[in-house]
């Protein structure tokens, strides 16, 4: 992680003509948080197909396998996030009280991860070409989400690109507080709206197809 960030930081700060001091902190946190969001979504594809053996042997609640995926990703995130204090030291950043808000952002992202895990997990068990589709979508999403670049580098008339991108909003809910900024109210509303919308689609779907899942494996 550290090697990637230093290498990318060097090249892109030169390309974008931004000083390393301005660029590296947001890049680092961008990559760390993106890794969490992206792997929650790609892992969602194998939540059930990867647990085929369990599903065919014991009647466990299906949500256990989603929890498993979330906990695994949160542990990886906790491991990656240890780079942040180092970043603060090197660049002399004092994030102050907004950093606490990162936990709220993390909670919102995790709740979204839950319905995505359940919904995408089930769909991927039924449609086996979906994981590849998700993987290519995530690749595109990486470039249109402000991970490598900053939203303020975008001309004003294109800012909707970031505003309408759910992943960009989730990203800013975790990254901005760690940089000492309070995320916008719009980002919070988007994050919460995503949870509500996601669950209102997932719950009926789950109720309808829960018993079919084991036959799809």
């Amino acid at each position: 992680m550290l090697v990637t960030i230093v290498a990318l930081g060097g090249v892109y700060s030169y390309l974008f003509r931004i000083s390393l001091r301005n660029y590296l902190p947001s890049l680092t946190l961008g990559i760390v948080v993106w890794a969490l969001l992206a792997s929650m979504i790609t892992d969602a594809c194998t939540v059930f197909t990867g647990a085929e053996h369990f599903l065919q042997q014991v009647p466990l609640p299906k949500s256990i396998f989603v929890h498993r995926m979330l906990v695994r990703n949160l542990i990886t995130f906790a491991h990656n996030v240890t780079i942040v204090p180092l970043l603060y030291l090197v660049f002399g950043i004092v994030p102050g009280w907004p950093s606490v808000l990162a936990l709220v952002g993390l909670a919102i992202a995790t709740l979204n991860g839950f319905w995505i895990g359940l919904l995408v997990g089930m769909l991927c068990a039924r449609f086996r070409d979906l994981p590849q589709i998700v993987a290519s979508i995530m690749q595109i999403a990486f470039f249109v989400t402000p991970v490598m670049w900053r939203p303020d580098q975008l001309p004003h008339e294109l800012s909707w690109l970031v505003d309408l991108n759910p992943l960009a909003n989730l990203l800013s809910l975790i990254r901005d507080p760690l940089l000492g900024q309070v995320p916008t109210r719009f980002a919070y509303l988007t994050g919460i709206a995503l949870i509500l919308a996601g669950f209102s689609v997932t719950i009926p779907f789950f109720v309808r197809f829960r018993t079919r899942l084991v036959f799809w494996l």
Partner: protein
């Protein structure tokens, strides 16, 4: 009081080919209106159980007999709550333990002790309850210091001993078994059999599938004969075994397998 009852349960497996598994194919079909893929796109499904009704009372030891593909394992999985039927009702009162794969849930990188807890939790125990079994399992498995090592280092026999010991340490009201489980070399097998028998006698209901009529005769007081997803005979062990054996004699085994495969909608 433990009871199990099935009322006209039907289980059908969809069989998907590569096309049926593909989302792009599915979307394409929906939008194009089935004009292109209308031929040969019909899905096939296998009816594994058809209108099975069954009631098992407290104290029953039910043996399931039948050829391969008759639906024994499917029926066991319905009873275990893994398959939920499309039509029909399943009512089960009592705690259920399924002994199909006794190593399920064990982690190769975890130590023997950790695996006792892991496996115990999979069998429905709380962590504290699972820990409480440890001394007894230490004694039974005779694995000694090996329990401190990751089970990756165990031989197959040692691993089976451990899995067997934990699995048989829980005492469920309803016990479901696919063939008799056993473990280890001759000396250990004697101990294992005694332990398994103790577990069986502790349970209120035993439901087991087996190809071995002697096992059924020894352990069960009722039996059911399955054929292509239906229960054809149910009654006393001797009666059902007799029906099974005569059926063997005058029938070519995969009697009407084709009968079980029906064409279903897309």
């Amino acid at each position: 009081m433990a009871t199990v009852s099935l009322d006209r349960v039907t289980i059908e497996f969809p069989v998907y080919n590569a096309r049926g598994r593909s989302l792009t194919e599915e979307l394409f079909r929906r939008t194009v209106g089935g004009m292109i893929h209308s031929n040969g796109r019909k899905g096939v499904s296998v009816v594994a159980l058809r209108d099975v009704s069954l009631s098992v009372a407290d104290g029953d030891r039910l043996g399931l007999i039948g050829h391969n593909g008759a639906g024994k394992s499917t029926l066991l999985r319905v009873l275990a709550g893994i398959y939920e039927p499309l039509s029909g009702r399943v009512r089960i009162k009592g705690t259920v333990a399924t002994l199909t794969d006794i190593t399920m849930g064990m982690n190769l990188d975890a130590t023997g002790y950790e695996n006792v807890v892991l496996r115990g939790v999979f069998l429905g125990l709380r962590v504290r309850e699972a820990r409480r079994m440890i001394p007894e399992i230490e004694e039974f498995t005779e694995l000694g210091e090996f329990l401190r090592l990751p089970i990756r280092t165990y031989s197959t026999g040692m691993m089976l001993r451990l899995a067997f010991a934990v699995t048989t340490a829980v005492m469920p009201e309803i016990l479901i078994m696919d063939e008799l489980i056993g473990a280890g070399d001759a000396a250990f097998a004697v101990k294992a059999t005694a332990r398994l028998n103790q577990m069986i006698s502790h349970s209120r209901i035993l439901i087991m599938a087996s190809h071995d009529v002697e096992t059924i005769r020894r352990l069960c007081n009722r039996a059911a004969l399955l054929q292509t997803g239906r229960i054809v005979t149910i009654g006393s062990v001797d009666e059902v075994i007799a029906a099974y054996l005569t059926g063997n004699a005058d029938q070519s085994p995969p009697s009407s397998a084709a009968d079980a495969i029906t064409s279903a909608g897309p």
